[in-house]
Amino acid sequence: MSVLRKMKRQRVHLLLLVPFLLFMVIFKYGPMYGSLLAFREFSYRTPFGGDWVGLKYFKTFFNSPDFSFVLRNTVVISSLGLVFSTVAAIAFAIMICEVRNAAYKKVIQTVSYLPHFISWVVVAGMAMTIFSIDELAPLNSLLLRLHLIDKPINFLGEADHFWPLITSLSVWKNIGWNSIIYIAAIASIDKQLYESAMMDGAGKFRQILYITLPSIMPTIILLFTFGLGYILNAGLDQQLFLQNPMNMKHSEVLDTYVLKYGLQQAAYSYGAAVGLFKSVVGLALIVLCNYFCRRFLKTGIF
């Protein structure tokens, strides 16, 4: 009864919510229902697919030779990105907080955010120029001039160079932006801790090691754990634009694989199956990570 009365009192409020709920049903829950295409044959006549075929397309994917290397690339690329971006962002945040000249600090911080605001298309475009095999290209010409190499390195065209390349690019793109949260965490540390440490004769490195790092450890663990939850999201853009037949063995990830087979080769059901596999495992990982955070850190995102 009281719920009904409440609903009546909030009718304008609820009425305003209706279009938003509809929007979510169409644009978010629609594709969720649509992903059942993974269990059906694709058909042009029925909008959500034709005959049910069970796990056929999942089996095809798990048994295909692509499965192991696509999954490996996805996990390796996002793990490398997560570890190096986190370490770089923490180091950068600590260094920024040690700058005493406010104007200098501001300038460096502002500049460091810039790469975050541009798209991977632009980053890939820059990378293709900088890392080009041409002996006049920026990096190769520099290395040649310093006599570190005798002939240009094919950074973009060899599988072995792909992981370091993509990891450095994501560190470069995210270091400033990711440091924002750590800088906020460091700023909230009690200044008296540092003062008493200095009284005891602790130098800068000891202060960082024994005060700064332990104080921001909960933030680090929380963000890192949630990064782990997104381990299957290696990102589509960076791989897609820097990918070529020569580095394919190291650059094909789940998202590019779905795009290639599912859409460009019109294997819709197969693509939907790979996509659904990714979504389900991804959700399970996030729930698991949240559970660990709740249990051991007494905090979580939901």
Binding site: G30, I175, G203, D237
Partner: protein, 295 residues
């Protein structure tokens, strides 16, 4: 407080490393800017760093003479303006509705929205949906599907919930409608979070290539600047992995090269962002930490 010599060394080294990081972040942009103003054939000789060697506006002249690129620029501007306005309005209204602590079934409604942040149907079903809704090859595909970003809504909702509830109460008692309360009480106090969300949506609109690539057939009519850039990128990619390609291009004798056209296009897409984001810095830093700490 006295600074010991060890500390002085620390500050100097620290400042120097940060300078290096700043340089690495900014220099590629400056270099591209500079090369885009250099004559194309001359630029192929390399070693242009801080200033053009042979100044030339050829690349920009070519871009602005080509109707397609101008058209793409208009499309990019139109989707960014319209997309940001629609996005901010929808986000603000929804965030306000969800920030009401008394809302019936509040937990369920929140759950309904939040679950979509962690689970999605995937690329193929989304593509099918867009096609079935006749949004394929339609300008509205840039505006409608992305009108509500749940993460943005949650950040703004958090901000609204932290405002003193008595303000909205008193407006309601005075007989103001829901939207009126939002417009004249809540929004004027929410500039930081509004600026943050507007920046996020605007930058995303300006820099996305995915919808152009996925949901338009690549026709000129709906191509955005990022879409053009994707095309140029795909065309010039072979050159950066195959040394014979560059030599062939050099012999062809053209003054304009795809490389400088690429640089000029990158410059056009990047300059607006470089000019805007520093001024919104204090907002997004504040907005981000509010959202992330309490998230």
């Amino acid at each position: 407080m006295r600074v010991t010599s060890g500390e002085r060394l620390f500050y100097i080294v620290n400042g120097f490393i940060l300078l290096l990081i700043g340089f690495l972040a900014a220099f590629p942009f400056w270099n591209i800017f500079v090369v885009s103003f250099n004559e194309g054939r001359d630029a192929m000789r390399g070693s242009i760093y801080f200033w053009p060697r042979k100044f030339s506006l050829e690349a920009y002249r070519a871009i602005f003479n080509e109707n397609n690129l101008m058209h793409s620029t208009y499309i990019s501007i139109a989707r960014t303006l319209l997309g940001t306005v629609v996005g901010v309005v929808c986000t603000a209204i929804l965030a306000y509705l969800l920030s009401n602590r008394e809302l019936v079934f509040r937990r369920w409604i929140l759950f309904f929205f939040i679950i979509t942040m962690y689970f999605s149907g995937g690329l193929i079903p989304e593509f099918m949906l867009i096609r079935d809704l006749h949004l394929y090859n339609n300008f509205l595909v840039y505006i409608i599907p992305g009108a509500i970003g749940v993460w943005n809504v949650m950040v703004m909702r958090q901000f609204f919930e932290d405002l003193p509830p008595s303000l909205a109460e008193s407006a309601r008692i005075d007989g103001a409608s829901e939207l009126r309360t939002l417009r004249s009480i809540i929004l004027p106090m929410s500039t930081p979070v509004l600026a943050t969300i507007a920046l996020m949506i605007g930058v995303a609109q300006w820099t996305t290539w995915f919808d152009t690539y996925m949901y338009t057939s690549g026709s000129q009519e709906l191509s955005t600047l990022q879409g053009v850039l994707v095309k140029i990128l795909m065309e010039t990619q072979i050159q950066s992995t195959d040394p014979t390609q560059a030599a062939r291009l050099e012999q062809s004798g053209a003054i304009l090269t795809p490389e400088v056209i690429k640089m000029a296009t990158i410059t056009i897409t990047t300059v607006p962002i470089v000019l805007i984001y520093p001024f919104l810095q204090k907002y997004f830093v504040g907005g981000l930490t509010v959202g992330a700490v309490k998230g």
